[in-house]
């Protein structure tokens, strides 16, 4: 018996017949429950989401994983690039260090140079300031002389000027100026004589030259009326502060023939170390101090002689 025959027999198996009252009993036991369509509809609406929820959740998880992998891949790429950059930088590190050292040396030199420039600039400023101060000192000295001259003029008795007497006054002044020059020349001569007796050293005061000077009148300017009374004194009574002249001579002035040794503040007559007397105009000639000595110099800075 083959399979076809067996299947044919099985397909035609006898069908048992139900008892006659079974249909009636089954129909009598029918109990139906009315189903509400609305909830079914609502369930149908929700059902697609419920059905696809696992797949959607898996898709979301998959997408999240893909994003994470992409982000991590990006991070890895960036880190690799940074690593390569750092390696390349590290390869040139000794050379960079040498360059850095050279650069620091250059910078130090540059700083030092800047500092020197600043110092030089300050030095120039200080020099300019010193020159200005020297000029101010010279001006101060000149102003002091003028002040003394004006003070002498104020102290002098005011002559009662009569009409037509100016000529005689001027002649008197001229005579006094010439007398003052003569006094200074005698003082210069006495200084040189004293120096001849003292190893070429000039005296440090006028009074010590009493032997070389004939009278104390030589030490009083004829225009210095305030000291006219001192003319009657002897050298024993006369003191250095009583003279009309400023005595500036130093022991070794003989080697500096142009330096000033005595000054008449009234007439601006200057006795120089070589024994000459110069009558100068204060507006054109000024005093200049060099190496502790006073010299005459023109206002424009050129030498006096």
């Amino acid at each position: 018996m083959n399979d076809t025959t067996i299947e044919n027999i099985l397909f035609h198996a006898p069908r048992p017949v139900a008892p006659p009252d079974l249909l009636r009993r089954l129909q009598a036991e029918i109990t139906l429950r009315r189903t509400e369509p609305a909830p079914q509809k609502a369930r149908d609406l929700r059902s697609p989401f419920r059905r696809w929820f696992p797949a959607l959740a898996f898709c979301v998880l998959l997408v999240s994983c893909a994003i994470m992998i992409a982000v991590q891949g990006n991070w890895t790429t960036n880190l690799k690039r940074q690593n390569e950059t750092l390696r390349a930088t590290t390869a040139n590190l000794p050379q960079l260090r040498e360059q850095h050292t050279a650069w620091e040396q250059d910078r130090a030199q540059q700083d030092e140079l800047d500092q020197l420039r600043k110092d030089n600039q300050e030095l120039q400023q200080l020099k300019a300031e010193a020159a200005r101060l020297q000029k101010m000192a010279a001006d101060t000295h000149r102003l002091q002389n003028e002040n003394q001259q004006l003070t002498a003029k104020l102290n002098a008795p005011t002559p009662t000027t009569a009409p037509g007497q100016n000529f005689f006054d001027e002649a008197q002044q001229q005579a006094e100026r010439i007398q003052c020059v003569n006094n200074l020349k005698q003082i210069g001569l006495a200084m040189r004589i004293w120096a001849g007796d003292n190893n070429g050293k000039y005296p440090t005061s006028l009074v010590v030259m009493s032997n070389e000077l004939s009278t104390v009148k030589i030490l009083i300017c004829p225009s210095d009326k305030g000291r006219a009374d001192y003319k009657s004194l002897t050298f024993g009574e006369f003191q250095d502060n009583m003279t009309s002249y400023q005595y500036l001579a130093q022991p070794d002035d003989e080697t500096h023939p142009d330096c000033i040794t005595a000054i008449c503040p009234i007439h601006h007559n200057y006795l120089l170390a070589d024994g000459s007397v110069q009558q100068i105009n204060p507006e054109k000639i000024r005093e200049v101090k060099k190496d502790g000595r006073l010299y005459l110099e023109r206002i424009d800075g050129t030498p006096f002689r």
Partner: protein
């Protein structure tokens, strides 16, 4: 029949008793026959049929129309039988007289007496099959369900049903071969 059954089912879900009654009329013989062959006696088959339809009406609201109504009904009957079988542990084997009675009461294509006896013997061997194969044979051959519906009722894949049927046929063929060879030896 199928579309008509679906229409009746929808009406029954809305509470139409006449539709439910028509469904019972249409399917109770088929379900009874299935359960009668499995259970082994008329009373149990009638009780199981009643339980099947009772459970059908209770579950009618959850019927989703994903399968045919007859398939769904066979699924309920199958589970009702399994529950009953589990409580009872073992079904009654069909007696030879019962198969002969059924053959005598119902029309059959086997006019020859020898063929008819061979058929009865084949039905008895079917009862000797294990449960899985026997269920496949009952649903596919006896109840004339297609392979796909048989697989749906049993809750297995179609390929599994095919395998079980193939195994069953092999078993039956071997039995028939063995039965035919014994008389030959006796005669020789």
């Amino acid at each position: 029949m199928s579309d008509a059954a679906e229409t009746l089912c929808q009406r029954a879900r809305k509470g139409d008793l006449s539709a439910a009654s028509e469904l019972v009329t249409a399917f109770y013989q088929q379900i009874y026959a299935y359960l009668r062959r499995l259970s082994g006696n008329d009373d149990d088959a009638a009780d199981l049929t009643q339980k099947t339809f009772t459970r059908t009406w209770q579950s009618l609201g959850s019927y989703q129309h994903r399968s045919k109504f007859s398939t769904w009904l066979h699924g309920i009957a199958y589970h009702v039988y399994l529950d009953w079988r589990r409580k009872r542990n073992l079904g009654d084997p069909q007696t030879d007289e019962w198969w002969e009675t059924q053959a005598a009461n119902s029309p059959t294509p086997f006019e020859n007496t020898v063929e008819r006896e061979s058929a009865h013997q084949l039905y008895r061997w079917v009862d000797e099959l294990d449960d899985e194969k026997k269920q496949a044979v009952h649903l596919h051959y006896y109840q004339n369900l297609p392979l796909s519906e048989t697989a749906e009722v049993l809750g297995v894949a179609v390929s599994t049903v095919k395998y079980r049927l193939r195994e069953a046929l092999t078993f039956l063929r071997s039995r028939t071969t063995a039965a035919n060879s014994i008389p030959e030896r006796k005669t020789s």
